[in-house]
Symmetry: C2
Subunit: 446 residues, 2 copies
């Protein structure tokens, strides 16, 4: 009754009161859910923007470039010059605008150059086809389109072409087909080709101006920061190892959920973004501290070494999670203490060496040739080796022990793979292996 009274008050006391009361609660809860999911979505968007405010700038830049290009269309004198082809400028802006300057340059130059080359070839093909009469022309044009499109598509499988000119080849096929096909009906082909090319150049020009002069995002700078960031992450892992496993205040609890044990994982997966940034960076002109011929591929080599290092850290991480302080000083306490101290030294010095390298990259100063921390880490590693090599037996047992240990670790991982395949088999309804004669007989007997 209370609900109904309340409804009547709010609903103005009309005859629909009880109907509204019935509808109100589901409606409210639906609205609540909608609102909460809306708030959640807005929060997500805000987080994306906060994580990298350049994303907002990029979005505004795309809007700006498109508005600029549409001015071309609205302002009548310009429109008269370019004709309907102005639409190609709009199209160019939409597909060429990329997040980084290098990306936009790569796509823009590919597009402009491919259009030019394909246009010339297509006009030539038209001249040839034109001489074959009314009936021969479309057939010959179709054959040309088939041959060139097939050949160009195949060239995209060449790794070098794929890496730098993939977009250009697409545009080559596109322009050639469009011009060749239109040439069958359009009278003044050269004018059409000229208009189309100029509008594309205008589109590319607007894109480049917007990306370079309004809050530019340089792929090279991002690649540079990525390299320094990866070194920092590796350093963070080693610092964590030092303080949590070998330090004064080494905790004795399980380390599995510690953040530092996850930090190397993003380094392992950095290859794809590194490769694309490096590819774009090569297109960029000199900017800030980077010259045009900055050795970008060197960053790829450094990245490969960092990923290899992260791989080893993954192996190490699976061991330290089961290492607790209380566990080992009981047996052979003297040696264990010594090994532990050396391990602590190795990790702390390595971490500092990595941090030093990272800050050398960030500030673009030559890292000190006598990197003290690096030599200290190497010294610790060597002293461990020489310490152990006094006991020849122990050194050799250790080597075998490491291999055996890594192998038994592998067995555990392969067990996980088995479970994953079992899961797949269940979910994908794999068929049962064909029953052998024996199974069938057992089946009959039982």
């Amino acid at each position: 009754m209370e609900v109904q009274m309340e409804t009547n008050i709010h609903g103005g006391g009309d005859g629909n009161g009880s109907f509204m009361a019935r509808c109100r609660q589901p409606l409210c809860s639906a609205l609540d859910r909608l609102r909460s999911s809306g708030v959640g979505f807005a929060g997500k968007l805000a987080k994306i923007a906060r994580d990298d405010p350049r994303r907002v700038a990029h979005s505004v830049k795309v809007g700006l470039a498109l508005t600029l290009v549409s001015v071309l269309y609205y302002v009548t004198p310009l429109f008269n010059g370019f004709g309907v082809s102005t639409l190609w400028a709009v199209l160019t802006v939409v597909v060429v605008m990329e997040y980084t300057v290098g990306g936009t340059l790569s796509k823009g130059l590919n597009r402009a150059f491919a259009t030019l080359v394909a246009g010339f070839i297509a006009v030539g093909a038209h001249q040839v086809a034109n001489r074959c009469g009314e009936k021969g022309e479309p057939i010959l044009l179709a054959v040309f389109v088939f041959l060139l499109a097939s050949a160009a598509t195949f060239s995209r499988f060449i790794p070098e072409v794929k890496a730098r000119y993939d977009y250009g080849v697409t545009i080559f096929i596109l322009t050639f087909s469009l011009v060749a096909v239109s040439s069958y009906r359009v009278e003044d082909l050269t004018k059409l080709a000229h208009q189309r090319f100029s509008t594309i150049v205008v589109g590319v020009f607007i894109c480049l101006c917007t990306t370079i002069f309004v809050f530019p995002v340089w792929a090279g700078e991002d690649l540079h920061k990525l390299a320094a960031g990866n070194l920092d992450k590796l350093a963070e892992f080693l610092e964590g190892i030092e303080s949590e496993c070998f330090g004064e205040n080494a905790a004795s609890e399980n380390l599995e959920n510690k953040a530092f044990l996850q930090v190397y994982k993003s380094v392992l997966n950095s290859k794809a973004s590194e490769d694309s940034l490096c590819n774009f960076a090569k297109w960029e002109p000199g900017h800030g501290k980077f010259s045009f011929r900055h050795p970008w591929s060197q960053y790829q080599k450094l990245g490969a070494l960092c990923r290899q290092c992260a791989s080893s850290m993954e192996a190490l991480a699976s061991y330290v999670t089961t290492l607790t302080k209380s566990q080992y000083p009981e047996a052979n306490p003297e040696l264990c203490l010594k090994v532990r101290t050396t391990c602590g030294e190795m990790s702390s010095h390595s971490a500092k060496a990595l941090s030093e390298l990272s800050s050398a990259i960030r500030t673009m100063t030559i890292p000190s040739p006598t990197n003290n921390h690096m030599s200290a880490a190497i010294k610790a590693a060597n002293s461990l080796r020489s310490e152990l090599s006094e006991d020849e037996d122990l050194l050799q047992v250790m080597h075998v022990a490491v291999i055996a240990s890594l192998l038994s670790d592998l067995v555990t991982q392969i067990k996980k793979i088995t479970e994953s395949v079992d899961n797949l088999a269940r979910l994908a309804c794999f068929k049962n292996p064909e029953k052998t004669q024996k199974d069938v007989i057992i089946g009959i007997k039982s």
Copy 2:
């Protein structure tokens, strides 16, 4: 003289003989170089085709689809129906045709759907702008384009949108801008929008027919094969370890250049292609042994485990290269032999277990629940542990030894990173760190 005589004979003995003789050699060598590089390039192309003959088929398919769509243009009755918009069908074919069916479907559906939605919104925007008079219309249209393009570009940073609808958003921006901008001048906007949409649908339809019915390449099938292939590679590594390090005929030479020690590396870098194949596979209809709702994301989970396994193999590989047969049975021969035998068992059984899983995936049969090899490998690992746990001291020393050993391995890797950064600093001409007061004084004194 001999050269000249020969030239005279070949050159017909005319007065230019000596001039030709002078030119001939550089010309010949240039031609030779051209020919040899041409042969090299042809060989490279042949290898690309041989490696995967489906690439040739794909190239022919693109040519075929384009030829089909240009027929639309040449055959006059069809052309009259669609008008100049036929060019949009050509454009659609060029940009939508992808190597895999899933890729084409993903792009085609994105394109068709985005064009439809953007077209409707643009026509609505045109109606609104139309009411603002001659002067207000272009301004309002420009504002609409700016707002929608910015918002849509920002939505591309949402990971879920990026993964599946990136191309759709691009086409949305494109279509909206094109229709909104054209609406300012074109009289019959609905007819234009209708024509454009139908030509795009025709383009997508031709693409889909060609990719699905002419030698289809299914992303799902490729993903399935990639998973099985990765398992095979891991198995190959373990087989190599078994036969080269622990087997009867274990070689005593350095293993560094053995092929099996490189085989896991391609597994480490398989993430990018796996992710894109999985994304495309989700768009594909049921085909062959795969239903529409095949659990494709399960392959990503399996892939992550395989990559982790390959990471551990990388760590192991750096140890076994320095392990030679002659090295270790001297110290503690009894234990070493035992450990060695168990290592051999672990690796051979694990390799067989992996091969079994791979063949279960290939044939899509449920892997036997009592995978004998897996249990044998686990048994070997456990027996090693229990063997060693009898000697409590040894077990604990071993654990510490493994960690120390991995850490000193890391130090070596970090040394390589240092060298790589030094290289970068040299090539990129990093500046010298600012000289301290002391350096300057020494400089003056000396």
